[in-house]
């Protein structure tokens, strides 16, 4: 009885899983070849990728960076890779690098652009990352005027008097708001500041300029171009269109019939026409609607209309965010005794803006892409304006792909990082209490 040798006393070591169920093979079976359709798709995808790489790789790899004309490029490629070989002539980017980036900005003034660009990051930092001290936000508020002065030059006292006007507005507002409420005190502040800008600013500027001449050489708007122009238009429009969009969205949600219909009218009109017609309005029509003899800068006119365009889209995005809030939030704010602006600032907007972040950022991306359209009103955007200038040079006649690829790459980097930042922001702000 005791001899039960046919019963195993120790466990067998587990057998290894079949080859098809582990590692790379299992992964491929599950992800690439799980059925006839999937297999076909995989094969098709592989073929497409291989074809694309085969078509583009030699051209990219044969690229020439050191040459002074397209013919020279072709000679170098033919010498190196044989007479039939094709290759990219990146030399055009290297030689015309400054134009692609800065247009026709005077070379000896480039330091101003670098300072402005570095300042942009310093000014953005406290807005984007809340770990930084809050006092830095004052630097951010000063930045637009500083950037304007650095980019366009001229006496420093112009921006200073603009700043003084805002200071007057701010002081009056903080002094009057507790007594008169937000709209009235803001109105009084605006009127006083406007009077200051209209009548007091010019003589004060002149006096200060003669007492203390602080000025940078002036740069004309037609000297702006390339990515400098795209960034100037894009960043300004992005920064201004957000508050404007919020106001339009609030106007559209308002109970006041006239305010509401005006907001709806503006939003629907701007969204209903292509941006390019608004740009032509800036270049052709604005002269009809302004007092005779007024002629202000084309970039400024374009910025104003691009901002208006973006604001209408952002207003619709924010309206979506406002509509997504449960009515209880508005009722709770009322129940707490908050007035309209307090409720908006403390309860409604923080939630509505959080919901609308993806939409707002994609509006910004669209806006930045749309800055290329200014080529149609004669400004030198990097894509069409500058590329055409480069191609009009005999040495680079016929270079199509390289400028397009270069410009596409830069736009991609900017927009892709914007969309990734919005995803980071969404994750950071996520409050899921479900």
């Amino acid at each position: 009885m005791s001899d039960t040798s046919f019963v195993r006393t120790e466990m067998l070591a587990p057998r290894p899983a079949p080859v098809s169920q582990v590692g790379a093979i299992k992964w491929m079976r599950e992800n690439l070849f799980s059925g006839p359709l999937n297999t076909a798709l995989t094969v098709f995808g592989l073929l497409a990728t291989v074809w694309l790489v085969q078509a583009a790789a030699p051209w990219l790899l044969h690229g020439v960076w050191n040459a002074n004309s397209l013919t020279e490029c072709r000679a170098i490629i033919a010498e190196r890779w044989g007479p039939e070989a094709t290759g990219a002539c990146w030399a055009v980017i290297r030689v015309r690098w400054n134009q692609f980036l800065f247009g026709f900005y005077p070379v000896d003034q480039y330091w101003r652009l670098f300072v402005t660009f570095a300042g942009l990051f310093l000014a953005l930092a406290p807005v984007l990352f809340d770990a930084l001290p809050r006092k830095l936000i004052w630097g951010t508020l000063l930045y637009p005027l500083a950037a304007f002065w650095l980019l366009w030059g001229g006496p420093i006292w112009g921006p200073v008097s603009v700043l003084a006007g805002f200071a007057i507005l701010g002081l009056l507002f903080t002094a009057l708001a507790p007594k008169l409420g937000v709209p009235v005190s803001a109105g009084i502040g605006l009127v006083v500041a406007a009077l200051f800008w209209l009548y007091a600013a010019a003589p004060i500027e002149a006096a200060l300029q003669s007492a203390l001449p602080l000025a940078l050489p002036e740069v004309d708007s037609d000297q702006f171009g390339g990515f400098l122009l795209a960034l100037v238009i894009g960043v300004t429009a992005i920064v201004v269109s957000l508050p404007l969009g919020i106001l339009l969205a609030l106007g559209r949600q308002s109970d006041m019939l006239i305010v509401k219909s005006l907001s709806v009218g503006i939003i629907e009109f701007v969204r209903g026409v292509p941006l390019i017609t608004l740009l032509f309005t800036a270049s052709l029509l604005l002269q009809y609607f302004l007092p005779p003899g007024t002629n202000f800068d084309l970039i400024l006119r374009v910025v104003i209309l691009v901002t208006l365009f973006a604001a209408a889209y952002i207003a619709e995005v924010i309206r979506g965010g406002l509509a997504a809030l449960p009515r209880g939030q508005y009722e709770a704010a009322d129940a707490l005794g908050l007035d309209y602006w307090q409720a908006q600032r403390l309860i409604i907007m923080p939630q509505a803006l959080k919901i609308s972040i993806p939409g707002i950022v994609s509006s910004f991306i669209g806006l930045f892409k749309d800055t290329t359209l200014v080529a149609f009103v004669g400004l030198f955007d990097p894509l069409k304006g500058i590329s055409n200038v480069v191609r009009s040079d005999m040495a680079w006649k016929g270079t199509y792909w390289e400028p397009y690829i270069f410009v596409a790459l830069i736009f991609f980097l900017f927009n892709f990082s914007m969309s990734r930042y919005s995803m980071y922001l969404e994750r950071k702000l996520k409050r899921d209490h479900r």
Binding site: N31, N38, T49, E268, I276, Y400, F411, F412, F416
Partner: protein, 426 residues
Amino acid sequence: MALASDPPKAGFRLSMLIYDTRFRSITIQIVVLLLFLAGLVWLLNNAYVNLEAKGKDFNFSFLWTRAGYDLAQTLIPYSNDDTHFRALIEGLLNTLLVSVLGCILATILGTIIGVLRLSQNWLVARIMTVYVETFRNIPLLLWILLMGTILAETRPVPKDFRLTEAMKAAGEEPKASMWFFDSVAVTNRGTNLPAPAFDHSLGVVDLGWNLPVSLNALAILAVMSASFWGWRRFMARAKAVQEATGTRPTTWWPSLLILFAPISALLYGLGFHLDYPQITKFDFTGGFQMLHSFTALLIALTLYTAAFIAEIVRAGIQAISRGQTEAAYALGLRPGRTMSLVILPQALRVIVPPLISQFLNLTKNSSLAIAVSYMDLRGTLGGITLNQTGRELECMLLMMLIYLTISLTISSLMNLYNKSIKLKER
């Protein structure tokens, strides 16, 4: 003791216009209205003064004068002796043509890409992600210019397609060859396609205002819709028979007969054949040439908008929780019925509104046609007509009005749709 709910005793004071919430909104509205009207009057007055100073007036009579310029692609007959108004209509039709075709193609491509991006297949999902990110993050203008350049620079010139006697004798092949059994030729000028032709044509009828309509096309359309209507009736009868008796009559061959026999007979009677493009000395003759300005714009608009539509479709599908599918299966619905009765109605509620706004975007973006010299509304009315007549104000306002009408029509239809499918809440 005064209760908090007691009405204030004093009568109306002026300061109540600001402090009393009952009156404040009226005050604000009146101020806003006054400011708006003042601004409007200021703008109009400026426009009046400026027009006066330039010695111009504001009227649209220039629309009825001779245009004097030619258009490469026209949907209705046009010559340079026609009026500016006719040129405007040509431009508008070209805008609508590229927009409608673009919307259809972009929806098809976008849906495929959106579904494939959710696919289990790792490789295909990655490729589609790369596609979407590439097209969404790079300006549309670049895609239009790039397509124009690709078509114009990489395609052979028409004479490369020619096979001369000398080449035949030497046994050489022409440098370029046509596609699809020698029926389609893509040169650096345009795409040459076979065109439908009729031996016994019914002729054309003029609707007035030089709008010819081909009777052949009308006849084909009439026969096809009659066939379709008959087929619907036949299928309905088959269903009725099935429900009454339990057995379904054979439907496949009568269906084929009803759908295809009449149209085949008509086409045979009209002597229908395809007119293939033929290479002559310098260019193709016969067939139908589609200009590259149109093709490049259409391809670029389609590829660009498809990336956005793909994201919309993906979001729509992801918005429906798996529980819906499982619940439908638990109820015994087959996969096809689950899709059409449970998933699609819910997904479409998420998909359709942003989809329509993409259609609107595509229509508005078609105004970039100027980059490849496609003569759309902006090219005719806002381009050559504007430059020739010097009437910026009238041309631009009219153009904005037309675009606005298109947009508002589409978006009001969308609002109706939204209202009809809206979830009913408290």
